[in-house]
Amino acid sequence: MVDDTSQTINLSAPVLEKLEAGSRPFSLLIQKLTGIVGKTGILYNADELLVYECDGYIVDKSAPDIVVFPTTTEQVSATVKICNEFNVPFLARGAGTSLSGGCLPIGGGVMIVLTRMKQILELNLRDRYAIVEPGMVNLHLTNALKGTGYHYAPDPSSQGSCTIGGNIATNSGGPHTLKYGVTTNHVLGLEAVLPDGTIIELGGPTAEVPGYDLHGVYVGNEGTFGICTKAIVRLTRDPEAHRTMLAVFQTIGDATRAISEIIAEGIIPSALEMMDHGIIQAVEEAFHFGFPLDAGAVLLIEVDGLEVAMDAEVSKILELCNKNNVREIQRADTPEERMLIWKSRKQAFGAIGRLSPSYCTQDGVVPRTRLPEILEFIEQTSAKYGLRIVNVFHAGDGNVHPILLFDERDQGQIQLVLEASEEILEKCLELGGSVTGEHGIGVEKINFMSRIFNETDLATMEKVRNIFNPRQICSRDKVLPPHGSGNATKVTQTHPARRAPH
């Protein structure tokens, strides 16, 4: 796996073959791949490749030359080996909901789409794990577990369509991350096809595996460490009881103080989401949910656990909200009311799509106590650029998602949105935070890497990458900024993303 080149820090990506449509190697490659996945498992005509030119991030586009739909690990491995033989780059794609361009095939090549590998291979309730194929939709796993008393805890807002393989690659979080952790806390082991075609198994269903925690290293690789073909995931017992409430505050300051105090008290809500004045108005304009229009912020607070502990936690939360001038609290104790509240949180995005022809969501993180500062800064930025910015986010872990509203047909506004986004993310860094909470670096944030990490940090990461993916044949030019060589394909941002927040 390790070759000489991977020892050098300043490794530049080797030149990979560019495929010319109609050329002999291209036809040969198609022939070989068809031999592996069959006629119905391959696409290579331009009109059918078009939809694969971007994912949830639509700023940059580049279509692959070939798309394959393998159905087994062996097919994935054989495909990867052929790509090596032809020196052609390849990358994995799940549901294509990435918001950072993780599925962008820079320089073309072969796209390995895992949507036909979606079986549950084993459900083991006694030992609380499931073995699934990577193309399984996150929510389908939870649906399959209905009635067993267990669920799969990581619940990104895209869970209705994103895949477990994509979740592992991006180490996805979600509203319930605050209490239950991100994907890496729920992956016990996995099987992967390395960029040279070897099949490896990392970790396993038992809690402790000796040696290095390599599956821990693997999770969050954003597709640059080969193709994940199987995952052993932890199953979480359904909580015995829930309490869900909406707390309406006059000011953002009051709401954030309440958040800090709730957490300082030792209560870990299972979810703690905030909607600001702007988004409340947006939701009201579109759906008439009955939120008070003059409220500064609404907190969606959910606690779960043992029935006996619930009431004490709730009354403590109410007390802390009251102390911070809460205006009113709506409680949702029946499952129907709870569903309604969550629906309104999720529907918030639809409302924005209806309000503005285009919008761009940013994904920054700040230490929780700095939330008021970043929100104030966002407000100032909004005024400075004359752009409407609304906020709905996972407040519990300081992960903000400012949504910038604009019209993509107006070039002037596009420039403003790019500048405003950049300023907000800079501010997150200045406050001791980061430029991505959960969407990943992909191609979108690649230029920020050298601002977050110093040379040594980056060089170490590059060494790790080179152990798995020395030739950068797998998902090239992602995560780590390409450097030092002229042949690295650089992606510059010219246009803000226009996409769903969550």
Partner: protein, 453 residues
């Protein structure tokens, strides 16, 4: 430059917009899609193929690319668009409110028209000409056509024909239609024009009878009317009403569809009634869309547009209406287990999901078991069953498996198309389940009768 990249497409500005399907669709409707992908796993065809080209996001991307002249309407592109069931599951899933139906439907109409101009219209083949256009809109003709089938079923000749594989001599589409044919009940006598309310009158409604349902499921229509009467509704049934026109509209014959709409406009006295009740989801979705459709079809006068919009707002699915009215609880016990299948044209196109369940919960003894993937299309989708047999079969099997997993004795469906499809899949696998309309069960319960199946 890569074939797919955005700057590589030559836009031929000299091309007549008529030659570019979809070019009349307001472009904002494409822009509404923010490419988030939250709709993909809600799409039955994508669930089956895993190919983004067969997903809602992919299809919107393809249609837009055709309009932008980034791709030609090649056979492959067309194939992916044709495979769409128009089930609108994607609309339910989309948080951005994309009106997918308002993209695919006019786009398809354009394709059909282009074909017609090039003389390769599907409207020209015998199947469309005779079966879809001459037969389906007219309940009396369907009923006539069914006479031999009834006779054959009564004499068991159909079984004999099947056993001798004589049916395999029929053309494919006819054979599929034959396979779909349910065990036919004797046709009921015609409905009178007015039926009185039982007890205190609470509403006055008109009833839309539908063509396929009146011909094959006349007993469901009778049950529906009785349930309405039992709930204090006076029911009027105008004789001059016509087919909803859905089949015509969806196969590109928009002028024919418009004619039906105008006939219905003349048939129903709007001032006089609280609602027009529909018990077939597919018709209901079309009828409620008359307003939109009038905007899309060429040459509709402003007056007609306005009137069709008003007419459209009067249509209500029977469950939706009864739920709003406040149903009178039925008393008769139905001691069976049942599972409710969400017809696409109810749940996605009309957003009617809880109402029928709430009504069914009122029936004493009826045990409702949740159905996995209840909102995923069963593959019937209008004439899809006949035009895309392979996908229709795959989805039918998927539905059958989910149904059998519940262990229920009765499958409840609020749409004839689904009933035909599910029933035929059950028969093929020799399962004795009964496929019932919610109104049949309510009717039995109101009348204190037990189902016989």
């Amino acid at each position: 430059m890569k074939p797919g990249s955005s700057s590589s497409h030559p836009v031929d500005i000299t091309k007549d917009p008529k030659e570019i399907p979809g070019s009349q669709i307001p472009y904002e409707k494409f822009l509404d899609c923010i490419h988030c992908g939250l709709c993909t796993a809600a799409c039955p065809t994508y669930l089956e193929t895993g190919n983004e080209n067969d997903s809602p996001r992919g299809r919107i991307y393809l249609m837009r690319a055709v309009v932008d002249q980034r791709v030609e309407l090649s056979d492959a592109v067309r194939g992916h668009l044709d495979l769409c069931l128009d089930c609108r599951s994607c609309e339910t899933a989309c948080p951005s409110g994309v009106q997918y139906g308002r993209l695919i439907e006019p786009f398809r109409v354009d394709i059909q028209k282009m074909d017609a101009r090039q003389g390769k219209s599907s409207q020209q083949d015998w199947f469309h000409r005779w079966i879809l256009y001459r037969l389906f809109p007219y309940p009396s003709r369907i009923r006539m056509t069914l006479v031999p089938a009834r006779v054959m079923q009564t004499l068991r000749i159909d079984k004999l024909m099947n056993a001798l594989k004589l049916t395999s001599l029929l053309p494919d589409k006819l054979k599929r239609m034959n396979d779909l044919l349910p065990r036919l009940k004797p046709a009921e006598p015609d409905l009178p024009e007015v039926l009185p309310a039982q007890g205190t009158q609470r509403a006055r409604v008109a009833f839309f009878t539908g063509c396929v349902s009146e011909a094959m499921y006349s007993h469901v229509n009778r049950a529906t009317v009785r349930v309405l009467q039992a709930n204090g509704c006076e029911v009027v049934i105008p004789k001059t009403q016509a087919c909803c026109g859905a089949i015509h509209y969806h196969s590109g014959a928009d002028q024919a569809a418009l004619e039906f709409a105008l006939k219905n406009l003349a048939a129903f006295e709007l001032d006089d009634i609280d609602a027009i009740i529909v018990n077939v989801a597919g018709c209901g979705a079309m009828l409620k869309d008359y307003g939109h459709i009038a905007e899309e079809i060429e040459g509709v006068s402003a007056e007609h547009k306005e009137q069709l919009k008003q007419l459209a707002s009067k249509f209500k699915d029977v469950s939706e209406f009864l739920f709003e009215l406040g149903p009178i609880a039925p008393q008769g016990e139905i001691p069976h287990s049942a599972t409710y299948h969400d017809a696409c044209h109810l749940v996605h196109a009309q957003k009617v999901q809880n109402q029928p369940r709430k009504l069914l919960e009122l029936i004493p003894g009826l045990n409702l078991i949740p159905l996995n993937e209840s909102t995923i299309c069963c593959g019937a989708a209008g004439s899809y069953n006949l035009t895309q047999p392979e996908m229709a079969d795959q989805l039918g099997k998927r539905k059958l498996k989910n149904i059998l997993d519940t262990g229920a004795q009765i499958v409840i469906s609020g749409n004839v198309g689904c009933t035909l499809q599910i029933d035929s899949k059950l028969r093929q696998s020799h399962q004795p389940l009964w496929v019932a309309h919610p109104m049949e069960l309510l009717d039995l319960s109101y009348r204190g009768q037990k189902p016989a199946f």
